[in-house]
Amino acid sequence: MAVTTTAPSRGTAPGAATSSRLPAAARWARRAPLLPALIFTIIVTQVPFIATLIISSLQWNVLRPGERHFVGLSNYGTVFTDKRLRAAVVNTITLTASVVLISLVLGLLLAILLDRRFPGRGLARTLLIAPFLVMPVAAALLWKHALYNPTYGLLNGVLNWIWQLFGADTGPSVDWISSTPMPAVVAALVWQWTPFMMLILLAGLQAQPSDVLEAARVDGAGALKTFRFITLPHLRQYLELSVLLGSIYIVQTFDAVFTITQGGPGTATTNLPYEIYLTMFRKYEYGEAAAAGVVVVVGTIIVATFALRVVSSLFREEARR
């Protein structure tokens, strides 16, 4: 079916089964093609994290040179008591949860609409992918200036046009970003991520065994009942996969916050990546930034453990088939 990883079947292949019994030279010959990628990844991704751990134990501000010294866990104390950082944690959760959930629901609705044949379905799918492909920085600038701008943005422009249609002189002039900063960022991100959710869920819908749907129809189940009792359970793993992959990317959102609101007004939209960036390159508190980074990594590891469990359940699912 559609959720497949052919790999597990390889796990039972004769080659794999005997690999542990091969002589050492042959085993290293097998490992050889893997080593460049493995060594490269360890150097580029693991060494920085060890460096982060070390820096997080230092009092180190670039603006006060010569004062760099070991302070143990005190940066972590600062991180957990800092009001800005706590606001950033809350904002990160709000931002990630709203973007993931809203784009998941919209993506599911779009996937259902696109699951049936209709004239121009191919073109509709192509157009729907476009928001995901627009460069994130370009999309953020587009939303900030072309859509949200209070005087000539498209949103107020359309409102104005509708108002004039009904005889009013001018429409309302809403300053979308300063009156509703968080929803403004969320909306721009939802627009970009809905196609992502839609693509995965559409693949899920199309992988439904058609004989089961046929049977449900023959048994007289209505569209809603079929969806509730057959489609939704089938979609579960696709929904989980969309949520987890989406969360992992959206938790890291930097472009949109940097571009649309610069974290403001105040700290209204400052999420953790942006706050760490500010601590690093505006306050130059390297030790504190590193400690915050470590906290984010630990948080991500907790979430990622669940993510990996879902991905490996997809593995096992296929292995059973």
Binding site: T6, A16, P33, L38, T45, L113, V137, G157, P195, T300
Partner: protein, 312 residues
Amino acid sequence: MTATPTTRSDALAAERSGSPTESSAAPPSAPRRRLRRQRDPDVAAHGGPIWTLVAWIVTLFFFAPVAWMVLTSFHSEADAATNPPSLFAPLTGANYDLLFSRGIRPFLINSATAAIISTLLVLALAVPAAYALSIKPVEKWTDVMFFFLSTKFLPAIAALLPIYLIVKDIGMLDNIWSLVILYTAMNLPIALWMMQSFLAEVPKEILEAAEVDGAGLLRVLWNVVVPVAMPGLAATALICFIFSWNEFMFAVNLTATRSATAPVFLVGFITNEGLFLARLCAAATLVSLPVLIAGFAAQDKLVRGLSLGAVK
């Protein structure tokens, strides 16, 4: 990259037959296709023209900002700044001319360099590694797969500070090769998972035959595996290209004047120039164009890439 036409023609062929989505699903076996055919008219009968209309309205609603961006990019500044918006203002290419005269070209070249070289590096590392994880798997290969995946879960922002300090120490700030290395590391897990799932589909018989003939690893890779896995390779390359081209956080923090990439240009362009909406839209359209083309060309493989090979 050379297989791009195949992917594109596949997508086109699928579009002509009116079911591009079907090509994104697993290649249906003959009996399944028969079942699908029984199901489809039935589903269509449930819907009808109202749902077609709804689907199109929603689609156009989602596409509207992109359409607005492209349309405004061809308007004059005066027409772009009217309220209500002037939909049918005369078109002009002046904004694009202006972008090139303001020197967008080096930024595009930097972006292309970083994206293309890192993609080639990723493939050079990922294809042999995927071979050692699928065709001739090492012991505990699933653990290795999950190690690579776990590096993707670590937030890049937490690595930014040490990377910045290391890059500064070795004098590689504002050097395009720093971005090349980082983008390679960023995309390697994705490419590895994708290529692993594609290579696992290479028929074992062909491999065994090549081995009986005494072909070495490189020959097997080049003459047997690569031709079979070519569409997968092209899709992987496109996904890596898209992510590298769009990357912003490392680019904005590690580059300055010499090796800044297109997204850095976009942000700087706004602060330097003040707000000129038509010009902004032209710049946004121009820098998004390569990825839009790549994404449309590879749309039947996009799902598989985005889900790391888990969803076909």
